[in-house]
Amino acid sequence: MARNPQLNKNGELIHLLSTEGLSRDILTQILDTAANFVSVSNREVKKVPLLRGKSVFNLFFENSTRTRTTFDIAATRLSADVYTLDIARSSTAKGESLLDTIANLSAMAADIFVVRHSESGAPYLISQHVAPHVHVVNAGDGRHAHPTQGLLDMYTIRHYKKDFTQLSVAIVGDVLHSRVARSDIHALSTLGCPDVRVVGPRTLVPGDLSQMGVRVCHTLEEGIKDCDVVITLRLQNERMSGALLPSSQEYFKSFGLTTERLRWAKPDAIVMHPGPINRGVEIDSAVVDGPQSVILPQVTFGIAVRMAVMGIVASHDA
């Protein structure tokens, strides 16, 4: 069997490309390491020297503010030097190929590439062409994966609910196009979560998703009934223009998460969202700002999780 491209021959994590195929031990190692980093943000000196002298290149071929900023902060708190390249407006626009861009940046002595790309598989392609001491962290590729978001979701769930093996988790929204949903589903199943449901209209949550080992639900009530965790996905505006959805108001009427509907879930259920939020489209303001929302803690935990991922990959060679 071919080796997982994220691991070296000792089974250690050298790139983070996807939560798919990572063992429970590795996922747990990342979450445990992140737990150590959460407190760094509360120190007088919010910085540890683990990546001192290393260069982290943020390559965002697709726009992002939050993810890029949290990677920036994470790398800076590990004392790395961080270079953020606005690739969309640079050489690529002049016709340079992806691998030429990488070769040039490697010649500038990069140690870690944080890559976001609209094409699924771009971070994998890069990881196959970098030197053995260089690491690639996927910050979201196409519809494929967004592993650090998946991991920060797992961190958040574990923080509030402790044990995955007793949980019901509902993922609500545009699951079909969501790399976050895919990363969550793989991680949840590896961590032993027995009941994962995907919830939304048939156009966004097709029945064959059940092949991923999840329960497909086409009504919100069935989908979130008695669940412990509700992950609401952003409804991307671009989906509204096609044939997939009639309008954002229509969507809110059937699947928007309101305080009343949240009562279908367990009374202590937590509500998550990867951001950015469309208030009044997939989720009501009262829920976003309500007592069950853990959306802002997710952002805080995201920094610690990204520190853990960069710290772990940087300590292993290919």
């Binding site: 150590n36 407190s39 120190r43 007088e44 000196v45 540890v48 020297p49 772990i312 300590s315 292993h316």
Partner: protein
């Protein structure tokens, strides 16, 4: 003393007396902080046996280790310092003093939380082999041990301490 004769419980009594003297000679505010994990067990017990007020500090070297690139990130207990570090006289407690590298990392870690008035060190065993200019104020025993062996403190379920000597695994 040979490693085989190390009786951790017996040495603890010596350490307790030494730390008592150290505290008497140190101004307030004074706080104990144990290095994870063996030092933390010792500090916890010293705090109790000496009847010191407040909670004991726990301090981890993992964020400042100089062998991070070779050994990776060791997941151990986190640093918890339940007292104001600024202006405090901090007594670090560890089980074994060897190269001094762990203590160097621990002192850096401590300074991430503030500026202590002074830092002193109390250890159960000094096994020599120092690679940095770090010395203990209180040391219950010194022992000569070849570099091929590791010396670690262990704690049983009932809280009894003992030393474990092992031959180093081949890397």
């Amino acid at each position: 003393m040979s490693a085989l004769q190390l009786d951790a419980e017996q040495l603890y009594k010596t350490l307790l007396q030494g730390v008592k003297g150290l505290i008497a000679a140190t101004p307030q505010p004074l706080h104990l902080a144990g290095v994870t994990s063996g030092g933390a067990w010792l500090a916890e017990r010293l705090q109790r046996d000496l009847g010191l007020p407040g909670s004991v500090g726990v301090i981890s070297s993992s964020m400042h280790r100089d062998d991070f690139a070779q050994r990776g990130l060791a997941i151990s207990a986190q640093t918890v310092l339940p007292f104001e570090v600024d202006g405090a006289h901090v007594v670090l407690v560890d089980d074994v003093l060897y190269t001094g590298r762990t203590l160097r990392a621990v002192i850096n870690e401590l300074f991430d939380y503030g500026r202590p008035a002074s830092v002193q060190l109390a250890v159960l065993v000094d096994r020599g082999g120092r690679e940095l200019p770090i010395e203990a104020k209180v040391c219950a025993a010194t022992v000569a041990l070849p570099a091929t062996q590791t010396l670690e403190l262990a704690r049983s379920d009932d809280g009894r301490l003992s030393f474990v000597v092992e031959n180093k695994k081949e890397a």
